[in-house]
Protein backbone atom coordinates (compact mmCIF):
# COMPACT_ATOMS: atom_id res chain seq x y z
CA UNK A 1 0.00 0.00 0.00
CA UNK A 2 2.66 2.44 1.06
CA UNK A 3 4.94 3.76 -1.62
CA UNK A 4 8.73 3.45 -1.41
CA UNK A 5 8.88 7.17 -0.68
CA UNK A 6 6.42 7.08 2.24
CA UNK A 7 8.14 4.01 3.67
CA UNK A 8 11.47 5.82 3.69
CA UNK A 9 9.86 8.86 5.26
CA UNK A 10 8.28 6.66 7.92
CA UNK A 11 11.66 5.09 8.75
CA UNK A 12 13.26 8.51 9.03
CA UNK A 13 10.50 9.81 11.27
CA UNK A 14 10.59 6.79 13.55
CA UNK A 15 14.37 6.53 13.88
CA UNK A 16 14.86 9.08 16.72
CA UNK A 17 12.45 7.30 19.04
CA UNK A 18 13.77 3.87 18.06
CA UNK A 19 17.36 4.96 18.70
CA UNK A 20 16.38 6.56 22.01
CA UNK A 21 14.52 3.45 23.18
CA UNK A 22 17.33 1.18 22.04
CA UNK A 23 19.91 3.28 23.90
CA UNK A 24 17.66 3.42 26.96
CA UNK A 25 17.68 -0.37 27.03
CA UNK A 26 21.15 -1.23 25.78
CA UNK A 27 23.30 1.18 27.82
CA UNK A 28 22.10 0.03 31.29
CA UNK A 29 22.16 -3.58 30.10
CA UNK A 30 25.73 -3.42 28.85
CA UNK A 31 26.81 -1.53 31.99
CA UNK A 32 25.22 -4.24 34.15
CA UNK A 33 26.99 -6.95 32.20
CA UNK A 34 30.29 -5.00 32.44
CA UNK A 35 29.96 -4.50 36.23
CA UNK A 36 29.10 -8.15 36.73
CA UNK A 37 32.63 -9.06 35.63
CA UNK A 38 34.28 -6.49 37.95
CA UNK A 39 35.22 -6.44 41.62
CA UNK A 40 33.26 -3.27 42.37
CA UNK A 41 32.44 -2.42 45.96
CA UNK A 42 31.06 0.99 46.88
CA UNK A 43 33.14 0.99 50.07
CA UNK A 44 36.37 0.82 48.04
CA UNK A 45 35.80 3.23 45.18
CA UNK A 46 38.42 3.47 42.44
CA UNK A 47 39.78 -0.03 43.06
CA UNK A 48 37.74 -1.90 40.44
CA UNK A 49 39.53 -4.86 38.86
CA UNK A 50 38.51 -7.59 36.48
CA UNK A 51 36.89 -10.46 38.38
CA UNK A 52 36.11 -13.06 35.75
CA UNK A 53 33.23 -15.28 36.82
CA UNK A 54 33.83 -14.85 40.55
CA UNK A 55 30.75 -12.65 41.04
CA UNK A 56 28.58 -15.26 39.34
CA UNK A 57 30.10 -18.13 41.31
CA UNK A 58 29.60 -16.14 44.52
CA UNK A 59 25.99 -15.30 43.74
CA UNK A 60 25.00 -18.78 42.53
CA UNK A 61 26.50 -20.58 45.53
CA UNK A 62 24.86 -18.21 48.01
CA UNK A 63 22.28 -20.30 49.93
CA UNK A 64 19.86 -17.35 49.82
CA UNK A 65 19.91 -17.57 46.02
CA UNK A 66 17.92 -20.82 45.96
CA UNK A 67 15.54 -19.49 48.61
CA UNK A 68 15.08 -16.40 46.46
CA UNK A 69 14.33 -18.47 43.35
CA UNK A 70 11.80 -20.55 45.27
CA UNK A 71 10.20 -17.47 46.84
CA UNK A 72 9.97 -15.72 43.46
CA UNK A 73 8.23 -18.71 41.88
CA UNK A 74 5.86 -19.20 44.83
CA UNK A 75 5.04 -15.50 44.85
CA UNK A 76 4.37 -15.31 41.10
CA UNK A 77 2.48 -18.63 41.02
CA UNK A 78 0.40 -17.88 44.11
CA UNK A 79 -0.63 -14.44 42.94
CA UNK A 80 -1.44 -15.73 39.45
CA UNK A 81 -3.70 -18.49 40.77
CA UNK A 82 -5.54 -16.16 43.15
CA UNK A 83 -5.98 -13.33 40.67
CA UNK A 84 -7.06 -15.48 37.73
CA UNK A 85 -9.55 -17.59 39.69
CA UNK A 86 -10.74 -14.61 41.75
CA UNK A 87 -10.82 -12.40 38.67
CA UNK A 88 -13.08 -14.81 36.79
CA UNK A 89 -15.38 -15.14 39.79
CA UNK A 90 -15.60 -11.38 40.36
CA UNK A 91 -16.07 -10.67 36.66
CA UNK A 92 -18.95 -13.16 36.52
CA UNK A 93 -20.55 -11.49 39.55
CA UNK A 94 -20.06 -8.01 38.14
CA UNK A 95 -21.66 -8.91 34.83
CA UNK A 96 -24.92 -9.72 36.62
CA UNK A 97 -27.40 -6.86 36.66
CA UNK A 98 -27.24 -5.43 40.20
CA UNK A 99 -28.27 -2.21 41.88
CA UNK A 100 -25.49 0.38 42.03
CA UNK A 101 -23.53 -1.35 39.29
CA UNK A 102 -21.50 1.73 38.29
CA UNK A 103 -20.22 2.39 41.82
CA UNK A 104 -19.39 -1.26 42.47
CA UNK A 105 -17.38 -1.45 39.26
CA UNK A 106 -15.36 1.65 40.14
CA UNK A 107 -14.71 0.23 43.63
CA UNK A 108 -13.42 -3.02 42.18
CA UNK A 109 -10.98 -1.20 39.94
CA UNK A 110 -9.78 1.15 42.70
CA UNK A 111 -7.02 -0.99 44.34
CA UNK A 112 -5.03 -0.92 41.12
CA UNK A 113 -4.66 2.84 41.42
CA UNK A 114 -3.19 2.70 44.94
CA UNK A 115 0.61 2.75 44.75
CA UNK A 116 2.29 -0.47 45.97
CA UNK A 117 4.12 1.08 48.94
CA UNK A 118 0.94 2.71 50.21
CA UNK A 119 -1.22 -0.38 49.88
CA UNK A 120 1.44 -2.56 51.52
CA UNK A 121 1.71 -0.13 54.45
CA UNK A 122 -2.06 0.06 54.82
CA UNK A 123 -2.23 -3.72 54.93
CA UNK A 124 0.72 -4.00 57.29
CA UNK A 125 -0.46 -1.42 59.83
CA UNK A 126 -4.24 -1.45 59.57
CA UNK A 127 -5.11 -5.05 58.76
CA UNK A 128 -2.35 -7.53 59.53
CA UNK A 129 -0.74 -5.89 62.57
CA UNK A 130 -1.08 -8.36 65.51
CA UNK A 131 -1.83 -5.56 68.01
CA UNK A 132 -3.66 -2.78 66.17
CA UNK A 133 -4.78 -4.54 63.02
CA UNK A 134 -8.38 -5.12 62.05
CA UNK A 135 -7.87 -8.87 61.91
CA UNK A 136 -6.37 -8.83 65.40
CA UNK A 137 -9.44 -6.97 66.68
CA UNK A 138 -11.67 -9.49 64.95
CA UNK A 139 -9.76 -12.39 66.49
CA UNK A 140 -9.91 -10.76 69.93
CA UNK A 141 -13.63 -10.14 69.50
CA UNK A 142 -14.13 -13.83 68.84
CA UNK A 143 -11.92 -14.74 71.79
CA UNK A 144 -9.15 -16.11 69.59
CA UNK A 145 -5.41 -15.56 69.67
CA UNK A 146 -4.50 -12.82 67.11
CA UNK A 147 -2.26 -14.10 64.35
CA UNK A 148 1.13 -12.51 63.71
CA UNK A 149 0.82 -12.65 59.95
CA UNK A 150 4.27 -11.34 59.01
CA UNK A 151 5.92 -13.43 61.72
CA UNK A 152 4.26 -16.75 60.99
CA UNK A 153 3.10 -16.57 57.37
CA UNK A 154 5.32 -13.89 55.81
CA UNK A 155 5.24 -15.06 52.20
CA UNK A 156 1.52 -15.82 52.28
CA UNK A 157 0.88 -12.32 53.67
CA UNK A 158 2.83 -10.75 50.83
CA UNK A 159 1.02 -12.94 48.29
CA UNK A 160 -2.24 -11.70 49.81
CA UNK A 161 -1.28 -8.03 49.53
CA UNK A 162 -0.01 -8.34 45.96
CA UNK A 163 -3.07 -10.40 44.96
CA UNK A 164 -5.35 -7.69 46.34
CA UNK A 165 -3.66 -5.16 44.07
CA UNK A 166 -3.65 -7.27 40.93
CA UNK A 167 -7.12 -8.73 41.39
CA UNK A 168 -8.57 -5.44 40.08
CA UNK A 169 -6.48 -5.69 36.96
CA UNK A 170 -7.43 -9.27 36.15
CA UNK A 171 -11.09 -8.61 36.99
CA UNK A 172 -11.11 -5.61 34.67
CA UNK A 173 -9.60 -7.50 31.71
CA UNK A 174 -11.75 -10.62 32.20
CA UNK A 175 -14.88 -8.53 32.77
CA UNK A 176 -14.49 -6.75 29.43
CA UNK A 177 -14.01 -10.14 27.77
CA UNK A 178 -17.21 -11.48 29.36
CA UNK A 179 -19.11 -8.45 28.10
CA UNK A 180 -18.03 -9.21 24.55
CA UNK A 181 -19.58 -12.69 24.66
CA UNK A 182 -22.52 -12.96 22.30
CA UNK A 183 -25.61 -13.58 24.44
CA UNK A 184 -27.14 -15.65 21.64
CA UNK A 185 -24.35 -18.19 22.15
CA UNK A 186 -25.38 -18.62 25.77
CA UNK A 187 -29.03 -18.89 24.76
CA UNK A 188 -28.14 -21.45 22.10
CA UNK A 189 -26.26 -23.47 24.71
CA UNK A 190 -29.26 -23.19 27.03
CA UNK A 191 -31.52 -24.51 24.26
CA UNK A 192 -28.99 -27.29 23.66
CA UNK A 193 -29.49 -28.43 27.25
CA UNK A 194 -26.31 -27.11 28.88
CA UNK A 195 -26.63 -26.46 32.61
CA UNK A 196 -25.16 -23.22 33.98
CA UNK A 197 -21.98 -25.09 34.98
CA UNK A 198 -21.67 -26.60 31.51
CA UNK A 199 -22.31 -23.21 29.92
CA UNK A 200 -19.41 -21.86 32.01
CA UNK A 201 -17.07 -24.72 31.11
CA UNK A 202 -17.88 -25.04 27.42
CA UNK A 203 -18.85 -21.52 26.36
CA UNK A 204 -17.67 -18.84 28.79
CA UNK A 205 -14.26 -20.26 29.75
CA UNK A 206 -13.08 -20.88 26.16
CA UNK A 207 -14.26 -17.40 25.27
CA UNK A 208 -12.13 -16.02 28.12
CA UNK A 209 -9.01 -18.00 27.15
CA UNK A 210 -7.41 -15.11 25.32
CA UNK A 211 -8.11 -12.59 28.07
CA UNK A 212 -6.74 -14.98 30.70
CA UNK A 213 -3.60 -15.44 28.60
CA UNK A 214 -3.09 -11.70 28.47
CA UNK A 215 -3.60 -11.44 32.24
CA UNK A 216 -1.06 -14.20 32.92
CA UNK A 217 1.55 -12.75 30.58
CA UNK A 218 1.31 -9.17 31.79
CA UNK A 219 1.13 -10.12 35.46
CA UNK A 220 4.10 -12.48 35.24
CA UNK A 221 6.26 -9.69 33.83
CA UNK A 222 5.37 -7.40 36.73
CA UNK A 223 5.26 -10.03 39.48
CA UNK A 224 8.79 -11.24 38.76
CA UNK A 225 10.00 -7.83 39.90
CA UNK A 226 7.90 -7.29 43.04
CA UNK A 227 9.96 -5.12 45.39
CA UNK A 228 8.14 -2.27 47.15
CA UNK A 229 5.70 -4.53 49.01
CA UNK A 230 8.59 -6.56 50.44
CA UNK A 231 10.73 -3.54 51.32
CA UNK A 232 8.05 -1.79 53.39
CA UNK A 233 6.67 -4.89 55.14
CA UNK A 234 9.17 -7.66 55.88
CA UNK A 235 12.48 -6.43 54.45
CA UNK A 236 12.92 -9.87 52.97
CA UNK A 237 12.67 -11.60 56.31
CA UNK A 238 12.31 -13.31 58.64
CA UNK A 239 15.62 -14.78 57.46
CA UNK A 240 15.16 -15.20 53.76
CA UNK A 241 11.47 -16.16 53.99
CA UNK A 242 10.29 -13.34 51.73
CA UNK A 243 13.46 -12.55 49.78
CA UNK A 244 12.80 -12.82 46.07
CA UNK A 245 15.38 -12.40 43.34
CA UNK A 246 14.79 -8.67 42.98
CA UNK A 247 15.19 -8.17 46.69
CA UNK A 248 18.33 -10.32 46.80
CA UNK A 249 19.92 -8.13 44.11
CA UNK A 250 18.99 -5.09 46.19
CA UNK A 251 20.57 -6.59 49.32
CA UNK A 252 23.74 -7.46 47.42
CA UNK A 253 24.29 -4.15 45.72
CA UNK A 254 22.81 -1.57 48.09
CA UNK A 255 22.98 -3.13 51.55
CA UNK A 256 26.31 -4.90 51.08
CA UNK A 257 27.58 -2.28 48.61
CA UNK A 258 28.74 -5.06 46.26
CA UNK A 259 27.80 -3.61 42.88
CA UNK A 260 29.63 -6.39 41.02
CA UNK A 261 27.76 -9.17 42.83
CA UNK A 262 24.46 -7.34 42.47
CA UNK A 263 25.03 -6.92 38.74
CA UNK A 264 25.77 -10.62 38.39
CA UNK A 265 22.50 -11.31 40.20
CA UNK A 266 20.77 -8.92 37.83
CA UNK A 267 22.10 -10.74 34.79
CA UNK A 268 21.00 -14.08 36.26
CA UNK A 269 17.55 -12.59 36.93
CA UNK A 270 17.32 -11.46 33.30
CA UNK A 271 18.22 -14.95 32.07
CA UNK A 272 15.71 -16.60 34.42
CA UNK A 273 12.96 -14.16 33.42
CA UNK A 274 13.57 -14.99 29.78
CA UNK A 275 13.40 -18.72 30.48
CA UNK A 276 10.07 -18.19 32.24
CA UNK A 277 8.88 -16.03 29.35
CA UNK A 278 9.78 -18.68 26.77
CA UNK A 279 7.91 -21.35 28.74
CA UNK A 280 4.89 -19.09 29.12
CA UNK A 281 4.81 -18.24 25.44
CA UNK A 282 5.10 -21.92 24.52
CA UNK A 283 2.41 -22.94 26.96
CA UNK A 284 -0.21 -20.34 26.28
CA UNK A 285 1.01 -18.54 23.19
CA UNK A 286 -1.16 -20.79 21.04
CA UNK A 287 -4.20 -19.11 22.56
CA UNK A 288 -3.19 -15.82 21.03
CA UNK A 289 -3.65 -16.80 17.39
CA UNK A 290 -6.95 -18.63 17.18
Amino acid sequence: MATQHSRNAARLMMSPSVILLLGWMLIPLSMTIFFSFQFYNLLQPGQETFAGLTNYRFFLTDPSFFDAIRNTLVLVGGVLVITVVGGIALALLLSQPIWGQGIVRVLVIAPFFVMPTVSALVWKNMFLNPVNGLFAHLANGLGLQPIDFFGNYPLASIIGIVSWQWLSFSTLIIFTAIQSLDSEQLEAAEMDGASSLNRFIYIILPHLARAITVVILIQTIFLLSIFAEILVTTNGGPGTATTNLTYLVYIQSLLQFDVGGGSAGGVIAIILANIVAIFLMRMIGKNLDI
Binding site: E184, E187, A188, A189, D192, S195, Y202, P206, H207, I290
Partner: protein
Protein backbone atom coordinates in the same frame (compact mmCIF):
# COMPACT_ATOMS: atom_id res chain seq x y z
CA UNK B 1 -45.23 -34.98 17.51
CA UNK B 2 -45.08 -31.22 17.69
CA UNK B 3 -48.37 -29.62 18.50
CA UNK B 4 -47.96 -26.23 20.13
CA UNK B 5 -50.82 -24.25 21.50
CA UNK B 6 -50.72 -20.74 22.96
CA UNK B 7 -53.53 -19.92 25.33
CA UNK B 8 -54.08 -16.23 26.24
CA UNK B 9 -50.30 -15.74 26.24
CA UNK B 10 -49.13 -12.20 26.97
CA UNK B 11 -45.78 -10.57 27.64
CA UNK B 12 -44.84 -7.30 29.31
CA UNK B 13 -41.42 -5.78 29.87
CA UNK B 14 -41.97 -3.63 32.94
CA UNK B 15 -44.90 -1.36 32.12
CA UNK B 16 -44.61 -1.95 28.40
CA UNK B 17 -47.04 -4.54 27.10
CA UNK B 18 -45.40 -5.96 23.97
CA UNK B 19 -47.78 -8.85 23.43
CA UNK B 20 -51.41 -8.51 24.48
CA UNK B 21 -53.11 -11.85 25.26
CA UNK B 22 -53.20 -14.01 22.14
CA UNK B 23 -54.29 -17.50 21.14
CA UNK B 24 -52.61 -19.60 18.48
CA UNK B 25 -52.68 -23.25 17.42
CA UNK B 26 -49.70 -24.77 15.63
CA UNK B 27 -50.43 -28.24 14.33
CA UNK B 28 -48.01 -31.15 14.12
CA UNK B 29 -45.85 -31.00 10.99
CA UNK B 30 -46.91 -27.52 9.98
CA UNK B 31 -44.53 -24.88 8.63
CA UNK B 32 -45.73 -21.74 10.36
CA UNK B 33 -44.25 -18.35 9.55
CA UNK B 34 -44.57 -15.37 11.87
CA UNK B 35 -44.30 -12.26 9.75
CA UNK B 36 -44.60 -8.59 10.53
CA UNK B 37 -42.68 -5.32 10.51
CA UNK B 38 -39.71 -4.95 12.87
CA UNK B 39 -40.76 -4.42 16.46
CA UNK B 40 -44.07 -6.22 16.02
CA UNK B 41 -43.23 -8.81 18.69
CA UNK B 42 -42.66 -11.78 16.41
CA UNK B 43 -39.21 -12.58 17.81
CA UNK B 44 -40.49 -12.13 21.36
CA UNK B 45 -43.31 -14.57 20.62
CA UNK B 46 -40.77 -17.11 19.33
CA UNK B 47 -38.61 -16.64 22.41
CA UNK B 48 -41.67 -17.19 24.61
CA UNK B 49 -42.30 -20.49 22.86
CA UNK B 50 -38.60 -21.40 23.19
CA UNK B 51 -38.61 -20.54 26.88
CA UNK B 52 -35.88 -17.91 26.61
CA UNK B 53 -38.36 -15.32 27.92
CA UNK B 54 -40.86 -15.87 30.71
CA UNK B 55 -44.53 -15.62 29.87
CA UNK B 56 -46.24 -12.81 31.82
CA UNK B 57 -49.63 -14.48 31.68
CA UNK B 58 -51.33 -17.36 29.91
CA UNK B 59 -50.32 -20.90 29.05
CA UNK B 60 -48.13 -22.64 26.48
CA UNK B 61 -49.02 -26.26 25.75
CA UNK B 62 -46.62 -28.51 23.87
CA UNK B 63 -48.20 -31.81 22.81
CA UNK B 64 -50.95 -31.21 25.33
CA UNK B 65 -48.70 -30.81 28.37
CA UNK B 66 -48.30 -27.47 30.09
CA UNK B 67 -44.81 -26.15 29.25
CA UNK B 68 -45.31 -22.59 30.47
CA UNK B 69 -42.57 -22.79 33.12
CA UNK B 70 -40.54 -25.66 31.68
CA UNK B 71 -36.89 -24.67 31.13
CA UNK B 72 -35.89 -24.30 27.44
CA UNK B 73 -33.83 -27.49 27.24
CA UNK B 74 -36.69 -29.64 28.53
CA UNK B 75 -39.24 -28.41 25.99
CA UNK B 76 -37.79 -30.55 23.23
CA UNK B 77 -37.52 -27.65 20.81
CA UNK B 78 -34.43 -26.49 18.99
CA UNK B 79 -33.67 -23.07 17.68
CA UNK B 80 -31.63 -21.50 14.88
CA UNK B 81 -30.56 -17.97 15.72
CA UNK B 82 -30.17 -14.95 13.47
CA UNK B 83 -26.44 -14.71 14.25
CA UNK B 84 -26.20 -18.54 14.01
CA UNK B 85 -24.71 -18.52 17.55
CA UNK B 86 -22.14 -21.17 16.68
CA UNK B 87 -19.48 -21.90 19.29
CA UNK B 88 -16.37 -20.34 17.70
CA UNK B 89 -13.81 -22.44 19.58
CA UNK B 90 -15.34 -25.79 18.58
CA UNK B 91 -15.06 -27.59 15.25
CA UNK B 92 -18.18 -28.08 13.17
CA UNK B 93 -18.33 -31.67 14.42
CA UNK B 94 -18.23 -30.57 18.07
CA UNK B 95 -20.76 -27.82 17.42
CA UNK B 96 -23.26 -30.25 15.99
CA UNK B 97 -22.51 -32.84 18.68
CA UNK B 98 -22.85 -30.35 21.55
CA UNK B 99 -26.58 -30.91 22.28
CA UNK B 100 -25.99 -34.68 22.21
CA UNK B 101 -23.03 -34.36 24.58
CA UNK B 102 -25.17 -32.30 26.96
CA UNK B 103 -27.93 -34.89 26.76
CA UNK B 104 -25.42 -37.63 27.64
CA UNK B 105 -25.84 -39.55 24.38
CA UNK B 106 -23.23 -42.29 23.90
CA UNK B 107 -20.19 -41.35 21.81
CA UNK B 108 -20.77 -43.85 18.99
CA UNK B 109 -24.43 -42.97 18.72
CA UNK B 110 -23.56 -39.26 18.75
CA UNK B 111 -20.95 -39.71 15.99
CA UNK B 112 -23.46 -41.61 13.89
CA UNK B 113 -26.11 -38.92 14.27
CA UNK B 114 -23.67 -36.06 13.63
CA UNK B 115 -22.46 -37.73 10.44
CA UNK B 116 -26.02 -38.39 9.30
CA UNK B 117 -26.92 -34.73 9.86
CA UNK B 118 -23.75 -33.58 8.10
CA UNK B 119 -24.64 -35.75 5.10
CA UNK B 120 -28.13 -34.28 4.86
CA UNK B 121 -26.72 -30.76 4.98
CA UNK B 122 -23.66 -31.33 2.74
CA UNK B 123 -21.28 -30.56 5.57
CA UNK B 124 -19.27 -33.80 5.59
CA UNK B 125 -16.11 -32.18 4.17
CA UNK B 126 -16.22 -29.37 6.69
CA UNK B 127 -16.67 -31.37 9.90
CA UNK B 128 -13.18 -30.59 11.19
CA UNK B 129 -13.20 -26.89 10.39
CA UNK B 130 -13.95 -24.09 12.80
CA UNK B 131 -17.01 -21.86 12.20
CA UNK B 132 -14.65 -18.95 11.45
CA UNK B 133 -13.40 -20.79 8.36
CA UNK B 134 -16.86 -21.25 6.85
CA UNK B 135 -18.96 -19.03 4.60
CA UNK B 136 -22.27 -17.55 5.74
CA UNK B 137 -24.36 -20.25 4.08
CA UNK B 138 -22.24 -23.03 5.55
CA UNK B 139 -22.49 -21.54 9.03
CA UNK B 140 -26.23 -21.41 8.59
CA UNK B 141 -26.24 -25.10 7.72
CA UNK B 142 -24.12 -25.93 10.78
CA UNK B 143 -26.66 -24.09 12.94
CA UNK B 144 -29.43 -26.13 11.33
CA UNK B 145 -27.36 -29.29 11.84
CA UNK B 146 -27.03 -28.52 15.52
CA UNK B 147 -30.80 -28.15 15.64
CA UNK B 148 -31.69 -31.38 13.81
CA UNK B 149 -29.42 -33.86 15.68
CA UNK B 150 -31.59 -33.49 18.75
CA UNK B 151 -34.59 -34.74 16.79
CA UNK B 152 -36.76 -32.07 18.37
CA UNK B 153 -40.55 -31.79 18.44
CA UNK B 154 -40.32 -28.50 16.60
CA UNK B 155 -37.74 -26.20 15.05
CA UNK B 156 -37.71 -22.50 15.79
CA UNK B 157 -36.03 -20.21 13.27
CA UNK B 158 -35.36 -16.59 14.22
CA UNK B 159 -34.79 -14.64 10.99
CA UNK B 160 -32.18 -17.17 9.90
CA UNK B 161 -31.61 -15.80 6.40
CA UNK B 162 -31.31 -12.10 7.11
CA UNK B 163 -27.49 -12.18 7.25
CA UNK B 164 -27.11 -13.86 3.86
CA UNK B 165 -26.80 -12.24 0.46
CA UNK B 166 -29.79 -12.29 -1.88
CA UNK B 167 -28.75 -15.23 -4.08
CA UNK B 168 -27.83 -17.44 -1.13
CA UNK B 169 -31.06 -16.51 0.60
CA UNK B 170 -33.11 -17.94 -2.27
CA UNK B 171 -31.07 -21.18 -2.14
CA UNK B 172 -31.36 -21.57 1.62
CA UNK B 173 -35.08 -20.87 1.40
CA UNK B 174 -35.46 -23.86 -0.88
CA UNK B 175 -33.14 -25.99 1.28
CA UNK B 176 -35.13 -25.28 4.43
CA UNK B 177 -38.41 -26.00 2.64
CA UNK B 178 -36.99 -29.32 1.38
CA UNK B 179 -35.71 -30.13 4.87
CA UNK B 180 -39.23 -29.63 6.14
CA UNK B 181 -40.58 -31.98 3.47
CA UNK B 182 -38.04 -34.64 4.50
CA UNK B 183 -38.32 -34.33 8.27
CA UNK B 184 -42.03 -33.44 8.45
CA UNK B 185 -41.28 -31.83 11.83
CA UNK B 186 -43.16 -28.74 12.97
CA UNK B 187 -41.28 -25.58 12.08
CA UNK B 188 -41.88 -22.06 13.31
CA UNK B 189 -40.10 -19.44 11.28
CA UNK B 190 -39.84 -15.74 12.06
CA UNK B 191 -39.15 -13.24 9.31
CA UNK B 192 -39.89 -9.68 8.29
CA UNK B 193 -39.67 -10.64 4.63
CA UNK B 194 -43.11 -11.36 3.17
CA UNK B 195 -41.52 -13.16 0.20
CA UNK B 196 -40.01 -15.76 2.58
CA UNK B 197 -43.37 -16.04 4.30
CA UNK B 198 -45.29 -16.53 1.04
CA UNK B 199 -42.87 -19.06 -0.43
CA UNK B 200 -42.21 -21.26 2.59
CA UNK B 201 -45.24 -21.29 4.83
CA UNK B 202 -48.12 -23.70 5.20
CA UNK B 203 -49.63 -21.14 7.49
CA UNK B 204 -48.74 -17.48 7.90
CA UNK B 205 -49.34 -15.56 11.11
CA UNK B 206 -49.29 -11.81 10.44
CA UNK B 207 -48.36 -9.83 13.54
CA UNK B 208 -48.64 -6.13 14.17
CA UNK B 209 -47.83 -4.46 17.49
CA UNK B 210 -48.02 -7.82 19.25
CA UNK B 211 -51.49 -8.60 17.91
CA UNK B 212 -52.29 -11.35 15.45
CA UNK B 213 -53.86 -9.62 12.43
CA UNK B 214 -54.64 -12.74 10.45
CA UNK B 215 -53.77 -16.43 10.30
CA UNK B 216 -54.08 -18.42 7.11
CA UNK B 217 -52.46 -20.04 4.11
CA UNK B 218 -50.30 -17.76 1.93
CA UNK B 219 -52.85 -17.61 -0.89
CA UNK B 220 -55.75 -17.01 1.45
CA UNK B 221 -53.90 -14.01 2.88
CA UNK B 222 -53.14 -12.79 -0.62
CA UNK B 223 -56.66 -13.25 -1.92
CA UNK B 224 -58.70 -12.33 1.11
CA UNK B 225 -56.71 -10.09 3.46
CA UNK B 226 -58.74 -9.52 6.60
CA UNK B 227 -57.81 -5.88 6.97
CA UNK B 228 -55.81 -3.01 5.54
CA UNK B 229 -52.64 -4.00 7.43
CA UNK B 230 -52.50 -7.52 6.01
CA UNK B 231 -53.53 -6.23 2.57
CA UNK B 232 -50.64 -3.77 2.60
CA UNK B 233 -48.10 -6.19 4.08
CA UNK B 234 -48.65 -9.26 1.92
CA UNK B 235 -47.84 -8.88 -1.76
CA UNK B 236 -45.04 -7.08 -3.53
CA UNK B 237 -45.18 -4.35 -4.69
CA UNK B 238 -47.77 -3.45 -2.09
CA UNK B 239 -51.46 -3.03 -2.78
CA UNK B 240 -52.78 0.37 -3.91
CA UNK B 241 -55.38 1.94 -1.66
CA UNK B 242 -57.92 4.29 -3.14
CA UNK B 243 -60.26 6.44 -1.07
CA UNK B 244 -62.88 8.99 -1.99
CA UNK B 245 -65.41 8.96 -4.83
CA UNK B 246 -63.98 5.96 -6.67
CA UNK B 247 -64.20 3.85 -3.50
CA UNK B 248 -67.66 5.05 -2.53
CA UNK B 249 -68.93 4.07 -5.95
CA UNK B 250 -68.04 0.48 -4.93
CA UNK B 251 -69.68 0.92 -1.54
CA UNK B 252 -66.43 0.97 0.48
CA UNK B 253 -64.40 3.45 2.47
CA UNK B 254 -61.14 2.21 1.06
CA UNK B 255 -60.66 0.28 -2.13
CA UNK B 256 -57.64 -1.94 -2.58
CA UNK B 257 -56.25 -3.08 -5.90
CA UNK B 258 -52.97 -4.94 -6.40
CA UNK B 259 -50.52 -3.61 -9.02
CA UNK B 260 -50.78 -6.92 -10.92
CA UNK B 261 -54.56 -6.54 -11.27
CA UNK B 262 -54.29 -3.29 -13.23
CA UNK B 263 -54.04 -3.46 -17.00
CA UNK B 264 -51.70 -0.83 -18.39
CA UNK B 265 -52.24 0.58 -21.85
CA UNK B 266 -50.73 3.26 -24.07
CA UNK B 267 -54.03 4.14 -25.69
CA UNK B 268 -57.18 3.65 -23.63
CA UNK B 269 -58.42 2.79 -20.14
CA UNK B 270 -60.54 3.83 -17.17
CA UNK B 271 -57.96 6.05 -15.41
CA UNK B 272 -55.14 8.11 -16.89
CA UNK B 273 -51.93 9.57 -15.54
CA UNK B 274 -48.24 10.23 -16.12
CA UNK B 275 -45.44 7.79 -15.28
CA UNK B 276 -43.21 8.94 -12.42
CA UNK B 277 -40.75 6.06 -12.24
CA UNK B 278 -40.60 3.02 -14.51
CA UNK B 279 -38.70 -0.04 -13.21
CA UNK B 280 -37.88 -2.41 -16.07
CA UNK B 281 -37.11 -5.83 -14.60
CA UNK B 282 -37.24 -7.62 -17.93
CA UNK B 283 -39.99 -9.98 -16.86
CA UNK B 284 -42.18 -7.18 -15.54
CA UNK B 285 -42.31 -3.43 -15.62
CA UNK B 286 -43.34 -1.70 -12.42
CA UNK B 287 -44.75 1.75 -13.01
CA UNK B 288 -45.35 4.43 -10.45
CA UNK B 289 -48.05 6.55 -11.97
CA UNK B 290 -49.31 9.98 -10.90
CA UNK B 291 -53.02 9.96 -11.77
CA UNK B 292 -54.76 13.09 -13.01
CA UNK B 293 -56.78 13.36 -9.78
CA UNK B 294 -53.52 13.79 -7.84
CA UNK B 295 -53.17 10.30 -6.31
CA UNK B 296 -50.26 7.96 -6.96
CA UNK B 297 -50.68 4.33 -7.93
CA UNK B 298 -48.34 1.43 -8.67
CA UNK B 299 -49.08 -0.84 -11.60
CA UNK B 300 -47.44 -3.89 -13.09
CA UNK B 301 -47.06 -3.97 -16.83
CA UNK B 302 -45.72 -6.54 -19.19
CA UNK B 303 -41.94 -6.80 -19.48
CA UNK B 304 -42.11 -5.39 -22.99
CA UNK B 305 -44.23 -2.40 -22.06
CA UNK B 306 -42.53 0.78 -23.26
CA UNK B 307 -42.74 3.68 -20.82
CA UNK B 308 -40.45 6.25 -19.28
CA UNK B 309 -40.75 9.27 -17.02
CA UNK B 310 -43.54 11.54 -18.28
CA UNK B 311 -45.24 9.04 -20.60
CA UNK B 312 -49.02 9.21 -20.42
CA UNK B 313 -50.61 5.82 -19.73
CA UNK B 314 -54.10 4.46 -19.16
CA UNK B 315 -55.07 1.97 -16.44
CA UNK B 316 -58.00 -0.43 -16.27
CA UNK B 317 -58.62 -2.22 -12.95
CA UNK B 318 -59.94 -5.77 -12.90
CA UNK B 319 -63.22 -5.12 -11.08
CA UNK B 320 -63.38 -8.67 -9.70
CA UNK B 321 -60.07 -8.24 -7.91
CA UNK B 322 -61.07 -5.19 -5.89
CA UNK B 323 -60.66 -5.50 -2.11
CA UNK B 324 -63.18 -3.41 -0.21
CA UNK B 325 -62.54 -2.16 3.32
CA UNK B 326 -64.75 -0.22 5.72
CA UNK B 327 -63.82 2.92 7.66
CA UNK B 328 -62.14 0.90 10.46
CA UNK B 329 -59.98 -0.92 7.91
CA UNK B 330 -61.80 -4.28 8.06
CA UNK B 331 -62.62 -6.26 4.97
CA UNK B 332 -66.14 -6.00 3.49
CA UNK B 333 -67.58 -8.95 1.66
Amino acid sequence: MGHISLNQVSKSFGDVNVIPPLNLEINDGEFVVFVGPSGCGKSTLLRLIAGLEDVSDGKILIDGTDATITPPAKRGLSMVFQSYALYPHMSVRKNIAFPLKMAGVEKEEATRRVEAAAKVLNLTEYLNRRPGQLSGGQRQRVAIGRAIVREPKAFLFDEPLSNLDAALRVNMRIEITELHRDLTTTMIYVTHDQVEAMTMADKIVVLNEGRIEQVGSPLKLYREPANLFVAGFIGSPRMNFITGAAAEKQGAHTLGIRPEHLTVSNSAGEWTGKVGVAEHLGSDTFLRIHLDDGSTITARGDGDFEAEHGTTVWLSPDAEKFHRFDASGMRLN
